[in-house]
């Protein structure tokens, strides 16, 4: 049976791992390659590296880092952040990334999703969606949550599904950094209305939150950062717990 995936996410700035709480106040958390290797050995199923440096210089540093990660790590990894056009995707896949995650660029130019799927295959294309609950419903945000768009979560997710995305990485900005559980109701709605896998993101604080994301949120994978980086939830312990709860885990 296909296993539910546990995915540590590493935010990268100037070649170092950082983690924001509610997208601000970055704290350092170590060398990205070493951390990735450690997670892989502990049983992480995939890794996500998000480049939060915006500068041209930073982008080059990140590409070099992707090359080092690909050389050293024997599980799949996704890279994202600052991907604006097809050439960026080509550059990162050529550096050895397995998948790319697009966010703002896809909202600004939805055709990018079709183009990535056509050129490199759907399996390469993860669409990341940052959303927050508003009185009108779940709305999508850009620029790390600073800019509200006129897009709604469910409509946008269905659109990119149809455009050829391979996975959705849904971050609830209301839940991110709060450590009070994932946005399970929205996750379940996504999972039930899409034909592609959904990765839950934002809100992990306890082992039970992962269980709930899988059982209530029907997520295919759960992503977290700080609970892993600061050793609050060791991955082997988390996986043993999820197994004991009857969830299929590698």
């Amino acid at each position: 049976m296909l296993a539910k995936r546990i995915i540590p996410c590493l935010d990268i700035k100037d070649g170092q791992t950082v983690k924001g709480t509610n997208f601000v106040n970055l704290r350092e958390a170590g060398d990205p390659v070493e951390l990735g290797k450690m997670y892989s050995e502990q049983g992480a199923d995939e890794l996500v590296y998000l480049d939060i440096t915006a500068s041209h210089e930073g982008r080059k540093t990140f590409t070099d880092l992707v090359r080092r990660i690909a050389a050293e790590i024997n599980i799949p990894f996704t890279v994202g952040g600052g991907i604006g056009e097809l050439a960026d995707v080509d550059r990162l896949l050529n550096a050895g990334a397995d998948k790319v995650s697009v966010n703002s660029a896809a909202i600004r130019n939805p055709q990018l999703v079709n183009d990535i799927a056509k050129h490199f295959g759907s399996q390469v294309c993860v669409v990341a969606i940052d959303a927050r609950q508003t009185p009108q419903g779940w709305k999508c945000y850009l620029n790390g949550g600073r800019l509200e768009t006129d897009r709604y979560l469910m409509d946008w997710a269905k659109e990119v599904n149809d455009r050829g995305a391979g996975e959705i990485l849904f971050t609830s900005m209301d839940h991110d950094g709060v450590k009070n559980g994932y946005a399970n109701a929205a996750l379940a709605e996504l999972s039930e209305s899409l034909t592609i896998p959904v990765i839950a993101s934002g809100g992990a604080g306890k082992k039970e939150h992962f269980r709930d994301a899988f059982l209530e949120g029907k997520a295919d994978a759960a992503l977290a950062a700080s609970v892993f980086h600061f050793g609050e939830i060791p991955i082997p312990e988390l996986k043993a717990y999820l197994r004991s709860e009857g969830i299929n885990i590698r």
Binding site: M1, L2, N74, P76, T195, I196, P197, D220
Partner: protein, 196 residues
């Protein structure tokens, strides 16, 4: 030992290259037939689309060449599918090394998402690739098309239906999953291939 990776228009030849380097092997990535013929082991990786890739192989005379190879050959993912007779992807005639066809996954219920993406177990293993495997092991898959269970099946995985996770016939070996991305289990499979 000389290991060659067949170079063609497929993406991500690097992952296989890196994985072999982690095992202490320095492969050559080439489409040069002389270099390929000299290699002790050949890997035919693949991420991409069947029709485009077969057209590329034919245009470069690699189709018949691969079929005639005598040393151990390992096809990975699309590489495995192209070693079959025909693929539903683009209604493509393939190399015909394995006497079986490639079909598209048809979901039976909503949870059956396509592509089949992530870690799944392989069982009923019967190939030297899986030497030392005592129980079902998890490996990493990403694919939307599958090879049904057939006389060449060397490992079985269940997703929507039981399908061929690996094939073996004479000097031709193939895996639907990505050993280069399957952690320590994948490394054991690649080592087994290198030690054939």
């Amino acid at each position: 030992m000389q290991v060659a990776i067949i170079k063609y228009n497929a993406g991500n030849l690097f992952s296989v290259d890196y994985a072999l380097r982690r095992l202490g092997v320095e492969p050559v990535i080439t489409s040069d037939k002389e270099l390929l013929l000299k290699a002790d082991k050949i890997i035919f990786p693949g991420v991409g689309e069947a029709e485009t890739t077969m057209n590329h192989l034919r245009a470069n005379g690699l189709d018949l060449f691969i079929k005639d190879l005598k040393q151990p050959v390992l096809g990975i993912c699309l590489g495995m599918q192209l070693m079959c007779r025909h693929s539903e992807e683009g209604d493509t005639d393939c190399l015909g090394i394995f006497d079986t066809d490639v079909c598209r996954f048809l979901p039976k219920k909503h949870e059956d998402k396509v592509p089949h993406m992530g870690w799944n177990t392989i069982g009923q293993t019967c190939s030297p690739l899986f030497r030392g495997f005592g129980k079902e092991e998890f490996v990493y898959f990403v694919h939307s098309y599958y090879v049904p269970v057939n006389v060449h099946t060397a490992a079985v995985t269940d997703y929507i239906l039981p399908f061929s996770a690996a094939l073996h016939k004479d000097n031709f070996y193939a895996t639907q999953f990505h050993p280069e991305k399957s952690g320590k289990v994948g490394e054991r499979i690649l080592s087994n291939f290198l030690n054939l």
